[in-house]
Symmetry: C2
Subunit: 114 residues, 2 copies
C-alpha cells in the first residue's frame, strides 16, 4: 500500500493533530514522528507542511503554545489543545462519521451489484 492521496491527507490533518494533542501536549517535530508511526509510514508530513497548520490552529485558538527547554537544552514549542479545540474535534468526529456512513452506503450498494 502506497502513500495516501493529498485530498485525504488534507481532510484528516486537523482531526489527527487535534486528536493527538487531546491526549498529550506535544511539539511539531514529535507530532510528525508520531503520525508517521501511527500510520505505518503512510502519512509523512513535511515540516514545511505541519508547522503552518499548527500556526493556523493557534490563530484560530484551537490550540495554544509555549516554549520549553528540554533536558538536552533543546528548545521546543509545545502545543496544547484548548476547550474550543476540543469542541472542534468533537464536531470533526461527527462529520467524519457522517461521511463514512454516506460512503459505505454507496459502496455497499455498488458491491452488491457487481
Amino acid at each position: 500500500m502506497e502513500k495516501l492521496s493529498k485530498e485525504l491527507i488534507g481532510a484528516s490533518t486537523i482531526p489527527i493533530i487535534l486528536s493527538i494533542l487531546s491526549k498529550n501536549e506535544s511539539y511539531g517535530y514529535e507530532i510528525i514522528q508520531n503520525v508517521k508511526k501511527i500510520s505505518n509510514g503512510k502519512i509523512e508530513y513535511g515540516d514545511g507542511t505541519l508547522y503552518p497548520v499548527l500556526h493556523k490552529l493557534e490563530k484560530k485558538e484551537l490550540i495554544a503554545s509555549y516554549w520549553k527547554i528540554s533536558d538536552s537544552g533543546r528548545k521546543r514549542k509545545y502545543y496544547k489543545i484548548s476547550d474550543k479545540g476540543k469542541k472542534e474535534l468533537f464536531t470533526e468526529k461527527e462529520n467524519w462519521t457522517v461521511i463514512n456512513q454516506i460512503i459505505s452506503k454507496l459502496w455497499k450498494i455498488e458491491t452488491s451489484l457487481i
Copy 2:
C-alpha cells in the same frame, strides 16, 4: 447535524462521483440530486462546483461523456466510468479504508483515556 466541512466534501467528491457512475451512467444535474438524496441533504454540490470536477475527471480519462436528447427534448451530457476510472475508484476505496483505520485507532485510544 449540519452540512459537512469543505475538506471532507473535497476528499469525498471524486470517490462519490466515481461510485455513482460505476453503478449507472448519469449526468451532472442528476448526480447533484442523487448525492443530495443519498446524503440526506448533507452534501449539496453547487452546479458550479460539480461541473468543473466532471471536466477534470474527463480530462484525466477516468470518465467519458456523450450528449443525449431526452424524451422531453432536453439535452443532457451523460458520463460513463472508464476502466481507468474503475481502477482509480478501487485505489480510492483502499485509501479511504486505510485512513479510517488510522483515525479510528486514534479515536479509540483517546476515548479509553477519558
